[in-house]
Subunit: 332 residues, 4 copies
C-alpha cells in the first residue's frame, strides 16, 4: 500500500471545488428544498434549469438543477482553476495523457473544460463565472440553514488509490486517509485551505455520494431541520445530527426530493502549511464518530449515478461488507 | 374516556417538580457524567451521597445520588410546596384519604413529607431547602450542557387516567394528553408556569422514565454531546438530537452511567392563563416528531425501578405493542 | 427605609404582565420594526390599530399599536388575572380603597378592568383573551429576534417605595431592590415564576421606560440587530448588547420608530420558592454590568409619557444626578 | 490615486499571517487573559516567555508573549511561507532590493527570516513550526471564546499606498480599500483564502493596531465577555459587540492587560477566485457599521509601538481628523 504523492508543482492550478449539476424530476419541489431548507439563493431560473448559490458566494452558482424525466443523476462535478491560462494548460495535459478534454459553453461560466477522470467521474473546470453580490449579511433574507458556500464533494469509487493518484498528480494534497486490510479505502483530498475538496470512499462506482455546504454554526443546521419539519421535508433527514471523528465536523445529511445527498457541515479547520502530513486512520480500529447515532444503511449504500457513466465493482474483495466496514469510518 | 378535572381550589399548594433521588453503583463515574456532561454543580458530597443542582438553581439540590451495591433505582421524586403550612394540610389530606403520609428528616431540606401515590410512585414534598448562590452567570465555571434547572419527571404507569386523576385533584393542570383506542395513554401535568412538571405514559409501572433538565439553547445541548464524546460517554446518547411534535421542544436523551435517563430540553413555553385548555392528540394519527430519527427500542421499553415498588402490568390490553404505539407519540 | 411587605393572601389573583398599548405616528413603520426586527406576529390589523404577539404566545396580543397624530404615548400597561371572578374582587377592592375602577370593552379581550394606580400609572386587567395558535415552532416564518413573549414592564416613578407598596399589597413579591442614601430607588416585582413582571426606578414619573420581550438565546438578539442594520433601523439600537449585573440577563435595548423602548432579553431565572428573599443591592457600591458599554444618557433620561398622566418630580432630593446614580445600577 | 497592482507571479510564496510577538509587564495576568477569556492554549511556557495557539491550530504558536519591564510593545508580526526554499528566495529578493534580511533562530520554528518593511514594520517569515495536536474538538477543555486561529493583523501606517504596494509586489491581493480625498486611507490585503491577512489604515505609524482571532460563532464571542466579566476583565472590552459594514463580520475588540488590542471575529468569507476585484469604499460616503455603537476614541488613536521603531506622521494632511474620518470607516 502506498499513498499517492502530491505533485507540488502541478501542470495547472486548480483552486477549489466550486459547483455541480444535478437533475431533478420536480424542479419546483427541489427549489423549495434548496431555498427553504438549505437556504440557497436562486441566481437564475427558467422552466428547465435553476442556478443556486450559497448566501456568501459571489460566484453565480454552485448548484445547477436541470429538469429531467428520467432517473435523477449527477451530470458533473466542477472545480475552479485560477486563470484562463490554466484551462489551456489543462487541456494540453489531459490530451497528452490520453484523456480527451474539450471546451464547452456553459451559461454564466467563462470558458469551460470537460474531461472524464480515469475512474469515470465527469469533471468540469472553469476560471471565471458571472459575479453576483454576496448575501451573507442580508440576514433578513436568510432561510433555513442559510448555507454559506459549497465546500466539497464525496465520490464513491472502486479503487480509491487510483482515483486519489490521478488528483494528487494535479496538485491535490491528502489530509486524511483510511486503511483497511492494508488497502486505502478512503481519502480526503484538498486544494483550497481546508481538508477537503474531493473525498473518495471505496464502493462500486463512480457514484456521487454527496456535496457539502458550509453553515455558520450548529443553530443554522438545526434551523434547517426545524424548517424541514414544518414544510414537509422531515423525512429528508437521513443521518445526523452527529459529529464525525478524526477532528472533523458537526454534520447533518439530508436527501433532496430527488434523492441527491447534501451535507450541512461547519467551516472546517484551516489547512495550509507544508508541515501538514496526511493522517492515517485504521478503519478497523474504530474510526468512529465523536458522537451521534449510527448512520442508516442507505447512507452507506445509496448514491447518485453520474450521467451515462457505468458503475464498476470494487477492485479488491472486501473482507467485510462495505457497509459494515464503512459503518466504522463514517467519514465525509 | 374522560379527562380528569383539575381542582383549581386544591387542599394545599404544590408549586413545582423540584428534586429526585437516584442510586448509583459508581458514584465517581456518575459524578463525572453529571458534572462534566450535564454540567450540574456539586452542592455537597460524602463517600456515599452527592447532592447536585443546576447552575441556575438556588435550592441546594435537584438531584441526590446515593451509593448502592444493588440494581440502580429511583428512590423518590420530589415536589415543592409553597409554605410549611401546606405540608401540614397535605399530611391531613393524605391521611384522610387512606394514604399514610409521614414526616421525615432529609438533609438540607426543611420538613419533608413522604407519601406513596395510589399508582405506587414514591413522592416527597418540602417547602424549604438550604439556599446557595446561583451560578448561571459564572460562565467560566460552566461545563457540558451547563444545565440550568430541573424541569419535569416522566413516569410510566399502567393506568394514565388513574394516575393523572390523583394529581389533578391536587391542583395539577393538564396541558396535553394522548389518546389511543379512546383511552388516555399519555398526559402532561403541570403546576408551575410551563406545560410539564409530571408526565405519564402508559406502560407497565410505576417506573421512572426520565428527569428533564433545561438548557439555555441548542448549542449547550450539543456541547454536552461533544464533551460526552471526549470523555468516554458517547454511548450514553440514547435518543436525539430531535424535536418533539405538538409544539414541544428540542431534545436529547442520555442514559447516565447507571442507566437512569436524563433529558436535556430547552425552556418550554410559558403556560399560565385559564384560557389554556388541555390539548388532545391522537396517537394513531401520528403525533410524531417535528424532526429527528426514530427513538431506539430501549427508549420505549427501559426505565428505572422505584425502590421497593412492584411493577403492575397495563390495565388495558393495548391493540398495538406499547413500543410501536408510543413510537408514534414520542413525547416527553 | 423599609421594604414593602408582600401580601401572600392577596384579595385577587394577578398572574402576570401580559400586554400594553402604545400609540404610533406611523403604523406602517412601527409594523415593520416590530415584525421584521423584534419578530412579533400580527394577530389583527386595521387602518388604525395593530395587535401583535410573540411567536410563543397563544394570547391574541401582547402589544397593541394605535395610530395617533400626537406625541406617541403609552396608553396602559396590562396584567392578567387568573379568573373572571378575580376581576370582580379587584373592582370591589379598588373601589373600597378609593381607586375608582371601571369595566370596559376591549377588542379580543374578556371583561376588562381599568384602574389608575396611586402613582398615576394607568393599569388594565383581564382574565381572558382570544386564543391563537402558538408559532414558536413555525421556524420558517420567524423573523428578526423571533421574540417569544412579553416578559415585564419598567416604569419610572418619583417614589419607588410607594409604588412598590401598592403592588406588594396585591401579591407582588420583590426579587431585587436598589438602595441609595438609605432610600429604595429601584425595585423588581413579580407574580409569575421569574424575577420581574413590573420594575420601578426612581425618576420623575410615572413614565413608561420599556417593555421587555424574551428571546430564545443570544443569536436571536443579534439577528434582530443584523436585520435592523439591513432594514434601516440600525440607529434604533440604543443600549447593548451587554449583560446586567446581579445575576440578571443579557440585554439589548432598541427604540421603536416612535421612540418607545423595547428590551430583548433572555428567559430569566425561575423564581418560585418561598425561600427566595428580596436581594438588596447598594447602587453606590457599583451594582454594575457584568460586561457592556455604559448606557447612553438617553437610556436614563428618556421615557414615554402615559396618556393624559402628569409627571411628578422625584419625592426625595437625589444626592447625585439620577442619570449618574442610575448609571451605576443599569437595571431592568 | 492608483491602487497597487498585485504581482500574481511573486518571487516567493507567502501563504498566510501566522504569528506575532508581544511583550508584557505581567505575564501571569496576560496568561489569564489569553487562556481564560480568549481561550488560547499554552504550548510552552517559561518564566519569561509563553507560547500560545488557538484551539484549532496545529502550529506550535500564533502568539508569543515575552516578559518586559518596559513599555509593552509588538516585537514582530509573522507570516508563513510555503516551503523552506521560499525563504531563500525571499532573502535574495529582499537583499537585492535594499532590504537587508537575515536568518535567525526562533524556538519552535524552522529557519526564520527577519526583515524590516519599507514602512518600518518588523516582519518575520518561516515555513515550518513544531506541530501539536489540534484541540478544536476537545470541547471539554475549551475556555472563554475558544479562539480557533489567528486570522490577520492591522497595522497603522502613514502612507497606506506605499505599504500596500510593498506587499502587493510580494503577491498580496487587495480585497477592499478605503478612499478619502482621492487618497487610499485603508487597504485589506490577503494571501490565504479570505479577505485579510494584513490590513493597513492611515495614521501615524507604523504601529500595531490589532491581531484578530477567529471564533466559531457569536455565542463564543459573548462567552468571552461573560468570562471577562467574571474574572475582572470586564474593562478590557473596548469596542463592540458590533458588525462591520461592507460585508465584513461581527466583532469584539478587547485590550489585553498590557493594552495590546485583540479582535474576536467570525470566520470571514472565502475569497479565492481571480474574478474577485478589489472593492472601493468611500470613507466619506459613510462606510459605516451594519450595527453597533460608535467605537470609542481610544480605538482610533491608541496602538502598540513596534519595538525600536520610530513612528512617522501621516504623509498627507487629512482634511478631517483621523479619528473622525476613521470613525466613519471602522474597519478591520
Amino acid at each position: 500500500m502506498s499513498l499517492p504523492q502530491t505533485n507540488f508543482r502541478p501542470p495547472f492550478n486548480i483552486t477549489r471545488a466550486s459547483h455541480l449539476v444535478l437533475t431533478s424530476r420536480d424542479l419546483a419541489k427541489a427549489r423549495d428544498f434548496y431555498t427553504e431548507v438549505i437556504g440557497l439563493k436562486v441566481s437564475d431560473e427558467t422552466a428547465i434549469t435553476i442556478h443556486l448559490r450559497g448566501v456568501e458566494e459571489r460566484a453565480h452558482h454552485s448548484l445547477t438543477l436541470k429538469k429531467t424525466k428520467d432517473e435523477p443523476e449527477c451530470e458533473r462535478i466542477g472545480f475552479r482553476m485560477f486563470e484562463e491560462d490554466d484551462l489551456e494548460k489543462a487541456k494540453a495535459h489531459f490530451d497528452a495523457n490520453g484523456l480527451p478534454a474539450k471546451f464547452v459553453n456553459v451559461p454564466f461560466q467563462g470558458r469551460t473544460l470537460h474531461v472524464t477522470a480515469p475512474d469515470g467521474t465527469p469533471l468540469e473546470f472553469c476560471a471565471r463565472m458571472k459575479m453576483l453580490p454576496r448575501l451573507h449579511t442580508a440576514t433578513h433574507e436568510h432561510k433555513g440553514a442559510a448555507a454559506l458556500r459549497l465546500d466539497h464533494f464525496q465520490v464513491l469509487v472502486p479503487d480509491v488509490t487510483r482515483s486519489a493518484a490521478f488528483h494528487a498528480a494535479l496538485g491535490f494534497r491528502v489530509s486524511d486517509y483510511y486503511v483497511a486490510d492494508e488497502r486505502i479505502v478512503g481519502a480526503f483530498l484538498y486544494r483550497k485551505n481546508n481538508p477537503h475538496d474531493l473525498v473518495f470512499f471505496e464502493r462500486p462506482g463512480p457514484r456521487f455520494h454527496h456535496a457539502a455546504y458550509v453553515v455558520r454554526s450548529v443553530p443554522e443546521a438545526i434551523r434547517a431541520l426545524e424548517v424541514a419539519g414544518n414544510l414537509g421535508f422531515a423525512d429528508r433527514l437521513e443521518n445526523g445530527p452527529g459529529h464525525h471523528g478524526q477532528g472533523h465536523a458537526f454534520y447533518v445529511y439530508l436527501r433532496d426530493p430527488d434523492g441527491h445527498r447534501i451535507e450541512l457541515t461547519l467551516d472546517a479547520v484551516q489547512m495550509i502549511d507544508i508541515d501538514e502530513e496526511p493522517v492515517r486512520h485504521e478503519v478497523n480500529a474504530g474510526a468512529a464518530n465523536l458522537w451521534g447515532a449510527s448512520p442508516p444503511r442507505s447512507w452507506f449504500e445509496e448514491a447518485t449515478m453520474f450521467s451515462g457513466v457505468k458503475v464498476a465493482a470494487q477492485s479488491a474483495k472486501p473482507s467485510a461488507s462495505p457497509a459494515d466496514r464503512a459503518r466504522r469510518a463514517r467519514s465525509g
